[in-house]
């Protein structure tokens, strides 16, 4: 069997997926295709295709998109809300098998307030929190957001990003630029 026939057949059969990583609302499996909202709501692809691309989640590098000014989301509704930003990295997983985690407060406080995590999820003291990958995978701790809304837990080395002294370096990040026409993992 000539290989090109197999490749052509695979491409043909998978053609619907090649249209892009974002489903149309009417085909996304959760919107009712007969809902009058379908032609009025913004399509994900129309908004997200203009932002810095990623290979997982919403296929958008949300932090980079914010820092580049591609988006400018409001930080408060009420004028008296104090907007708290904090720039300090915390090193985590100092003794585990994986590379260490450099947790950046800065990127997190761009989106979140201190009280979103402290102290009901994490005590505000380095070394005071016993973190568990199983808990995270189960939607606790970091997993309250990562794996649900922020980048998913398939992206191990985005968090495990710092080699231990004498340890193996973290795997280099995968390229984030998605070539035109490529089919990123859904």
């Amino acid at each position: 069997m000539p290989t090109w026939i197999i490749v052509a057949a695979l491409l043909l059969v998978n053609a619907p997926v090649l249209a892009g990583p974002w489903d149309k609302l009417r085909e996304d499996g959760v919107h009712d295709p007969r809902s009058p909202a379908i032609n009025r709501l913004q399509e994900p692809g129309d908004a997200l295709s203009k932002l810095t691309p990623d290979s997982a989640g919403n296929m958008v590098r949300w932090v980079q998109s914010l820092e580049k000014g591609e988006i400018n989301p409001r930080a408060n509704l009420r004028p008296d809300t104090k907007i708290r930003l904090y720039d300090s990295d915390v090193m985590l997983n100092l003794n585990g098998g994986m590379p260490m985690v450099k947790f950046p407060h800065r990127q997190h406080t761009l989106w979140l307030d201190c009280a979103n995590c402290h102290d009901h999820l994490f005590k505000a003291e380095a070394g005071a929190n016993k973190l568990s990958m199983l808990a995270i995978l189960n939607g606790e701790q970091c997993g309250v957001c990562h794996g649900a809304v922020s980048f998913p837990l398939t992206e191990c080395f985005r968090c495990h990003n710092t080699a231990k002294p004498g340890g193996k370096p973290p795997r280099p990040s995968l390229p984030i630029a998605i070539p035109a026409g490529a089919v990123p993992p859904k």
């Binding site: 998978n14 009712d32 949300w62 989301p73 309250v144 809304v149 998913p152 859904k186």
Partner: protein, 129 residues
Amino acid sequence: MSQVRRILQVCLLLIPALVAGIPPAAAEYADVVLNRRAEKEGMRPVIFPHWFHRIRFRCKVCHQELGFKMRVGSNDVRMSDIVEGKFCGACHNGDVAWAPDQCDLCHSAKRGLPTGIYGGHETLGPGRW
């Protein structure tokens, strides 16, 4: 005979492609379906798209100022709250965003979908979400 075998070969090779080629009913990552009461009250369930909202608002606006807890199903929001300007109603008031009389724009999900977070990635936690 070899012709038949070749045809069978093609069919076998196409099975995984067919399965993979069906667009998954997966929503956009972090879409939330809300159906605590909607369908019992005769409305379609609500879809809350995180992607749309985070282009316009940082997480802290809803999860700090408006008091939405970060766990699907843990926010008991009634239409009366929204009309009074609480939760969604802080913006969905006809001023910042469409008013609550535009029922169908939020109540746009397929009937029968349970409350939950959709569009998850492969490593979605073992059942918690």
